[in-house]
Symmetry: C2
Subunit: 278 residues, 2 copies
């Protein structure tokens, strides 16, 4: 499954309920009855998902969700989301949509149409941060960065207390971490390069009932220029730091009886842009 996505397994941790893999291109989590795979770059996730569907067989699959975010430089990719849903629909009937305008942050989502009861574990939240700034962002652009420092700077010991974790610092820059505790997971991926920095968090920890406001803490530390919050059966409170406006938001129900929430935030302070010479 990983090699079909054009990725490699770099390392692995596990507990009684979950196996977590750091991939060369993001992360894979495997439970007895479900799988989450995230990839990035020039990976071919659709090939991996198609093969998994064929292997498991459609009859035994309860639910499939397939997501891609804004397609920038889409001509560099092996497929578009439109191509991908055509591949998926040859196997599984499903509903696909784009949330958000093409000229702004947006998100593509395919969900299978079969009715089912979503397990509580699927209360997933994603925080996608663009153009981070400040002292932690500066540190993340240094070649001396270490897993221990990043873990501490992001306050992960506090935010995800009791989680076993597996993390990598990449050369020249970049950081990935998987954390697991019982059937809960979180994964953070950092591409810190100036001009196009991006940090993603995905977790099934219930952020509404968590001791700390995980999203607010990470936003205050990483100070992104803009960010998106995507919630499946969960909604995150609007953060106040950095000072921001909600550009757009959307909530809509899917077949399995829960809501998808999408919100896009933008710092109010204008950014001084530099021309990027080509």
């Amino acid at each position: 499954m990983v090699s079909l996505a054009k990725a490699d397994i770099l390392s692995h941790i596990e507990n009684d309920q979950c196996d977590a893999y750091i991939l060369s291109e993001s992360s894979l989590f495997v439970w007895d009855h479900s799988v989450v795979i995230l990839t990035c770059g020039l990976s071919t996730l659709i090939d991996s998902v198609s093969a998994l569907i064929d292997k498991v067989t459609v009859d035994k699959l309860t639910y499939i969700r397939y997501q891609r975010k804004n397609e920038y430089l889409a001509y560099l990719q092996a497929s578009t989301f439109i191509d991908d849903i055509s591949t998926l629909r040859q196997r599984v009937p499903g509903t696909a949509c784009r949330v958000g305008h093409l000229d702004n942050h947006h998100h593509f989502l395919f969900t299978s149409d079969k009715s089912c009861q979503i397990v509580p574990q699927d209360k997933t939240c994603e925080l996608l941060m663009y153009h981070i700034s400040g002292s932690v962002a500066d540190y993340l652009c240094t070649e001396q960065q270490t897993v221990a420092d990043i873990y501490q700077l992001l306050l992960l010991d506090k935010l995800f207390a009791g989680f076993e974790y597996d993390a990598h610092v990449f050369t020249p820059l970049g950081f990935s971490i998987n954390g697991i505790k019982d059937n809960f997971y979180y994964t953070i991926h950092i591409t810190p390069q100036e001009q196009s920095s991006y940090v993603s968090l995905e977790t099934n920890v219930n952020l509404e009932q968590h001791q700390f406001d995980i999203a607010a803490t990470l936003l205050a530390i990483l100070k992104p220029r803009s960010w998106d919050i995507i919630g499946f059966d969960t909604e995150m409170a609007a953060p106040t730091v950095p000072k921001n406006i909600c550009v757009g938001h959307c909530s809509y129900p899917i077949q399995q009886g829960y809501n998808v929430h999408f919100s896009h935030y933008q710092q109010t302070c204008p950014e001084v842009l530099s021309p990027e010479f080509l």
Copy 2:
């Protein structure tokens, strides 16, 4: 030149100094010593520009500027900006850049490197409006729209007093207008369809010295969710209606001794988004 861009000439007006053509895919203006061509959709502007350079010959060309905005659904286009500058650089040395992040409004610009004194006529300004709203936006989505009504609703008799004009309403929807007066021009193109509406204004009228605030008036009438202002040797005052923030801005000098200004504005009021099913 027009057919190479995969466009057709629909109509034509002229005065002593300028010929102005409405094209199936935007507009063309021709003076004795300069040309402005705008195209959209699946047109192949680079083929047209390359042929023009070859015909005129590089030695006789003083200055070339080639622009494209955000490339969404770029895989549907015959070429990317990167392809286009490679084609241009086979003919003319030039500087190319992107202003604005890929995940937000941005603009691609190529300018030839030959030193020259820009003529005052080149004080050009562009106002690019996304997701218009309100009663005029609603009218522009009706099939009963007429040139006379649109001309009046946009207050063009006041904003561009004394300009001769040529305008078309398209089926099912859409509007284009060219106006000329002496060596001045303006052109407005409207794609009013909900979910992806877009209105552009381009003019060499000096907006800083004009009797009316043209940009502020059009923004108040069309109420776009977001808009960009691009100025060549001219800068537009930040508009206050609709209530907005400046997301990012950039000013940088080009070889010919003037500044390019880019600013991106966003309404502060959050937009309720609808999923667009695919």
